[in-house]
Symmetry: C2
Subunit: 199 residues, 2 copies
């Protein structure tokens, strides 16, 4: 075991919460995986929920950094939109089963939702919506496009696969199919769906 108990708890909690969700993970299980005692969860994080909150915040910080790179502010809006989709897929590739933690929170909010999730989602949604607005103004997307709806549909396509998980992926996609071409497919559908000129 390397790292402090606190760090190990955080890492173990992250893995277990990601895989099974908040409710189906017990503090004893986390502590066991971290090679620590169950009491240390309350000691360091004030309880199970505090640990969960810490995990969520850690993830959002990473996602923020990630989007900071894939959606550069100084680039044209259409590039930021593409960066959103590609960045999301790349992040997932680097952290399998992790986005499910966030999405699970979107589907079934815990008390953390309002304090840690909403602000971050609002931020990303804001960037996405304004990028779309700018693209409309700049003539890259069709006049009359509703930024909120367009953002929602883009987020839908980009998130759903990860949300429904490998099991459901198996049912809809072919069993051994990779997600290789999906970001491009999404962008193509998005572009043709709301664009007024070919990319």
């Amino acid at each position: 075991m390397d790292g402090s108990v606190k760090e190990r708890l955080l890492a173990a909690a992250r893995a277990l919460f990601s895989e099974k969700g908040f409710d189906r993970t017990s503090v004893r299980e986390i502590a066991g995986a971290a090679g620590a005692n169950a009491a240390s969860v309350s000691y360091y994080f004030g309880g199970k929920e505090g640990l969960y909150r810490a995990v969520l915040e850690e993830i959002w910080e990473e996602l923020k950094r990630h989007f900071g790179k894939s959606m550069p502010e100084n680039r044209p809006p259409m590039e930021r939109i593409e960066g959103f989709v590609r960045g999301l897929f790349a992040f997932h590739a680097a952290n399998p089963s992790l986005i499910r933690l966030i999405n699970r929170e979107l589907a079934d909010p815990t008390p953390c939702f309002e304090t840690v999730i909403v602000p971050h989602v609002e931020r990303i949604a804001g960037i996405l919506k304004s990028s779309i607005s700018e693209s409309v103004a700049g003539g890259d997307l069709r006049e009359g496009t509703d930024p909120a709806i367009a953002a929602l549909l883009l987020a839908s396509m980009s998130n759903y696969v990860f949300l429904v998980g490998p099991v459901a992926r198996r049912v809809i996609l072919d069993p051994e199919r990779s997600l290789e071409g999906l970001p491009e497919a999404i962008l193509t559908v998005f572009r043709k769906g709301v664009a007024c000129r070919e990319a």
Copy 2:
């Protein structure tokens, strides 16, 4: 209270499971809402999971009937595709917060997943994919369209809003915006995204 205890349990369980999910709903809570005793859950359904399974099966039967009407087999494939989207939205409108139960199961499978969810999803996915294939063959959708990916993206757009629930809808869409025009927006994006001629 009307109906037998068994029926009342089923109705209460359906409402509570839909709203809060399996883990966060206790049998005492269900029994209380049904005006019955907690023991009756084990008595009639063999346990909490049995009751949950019964609820899921009931919902799928309804959804099946619903899709049977909105996706008529004797109509052209593009109409079935439209029927999928409109039917899903209509079903949701009639049963708010209910599709979340199914989607929650997709995101976090319980033991019921393999036995009750997979077969039904496979069925719908099959219909969707073959409708898309036929549309491609018939010239309504672009040559080279991948039916599996197209079906996945359509399902993504149609399901995500309901999955993330009212709370997250608030964040992405405007607060008081209705879902009125969404099915048409989805179909437009889908058509333009993978169609080769305007609808």
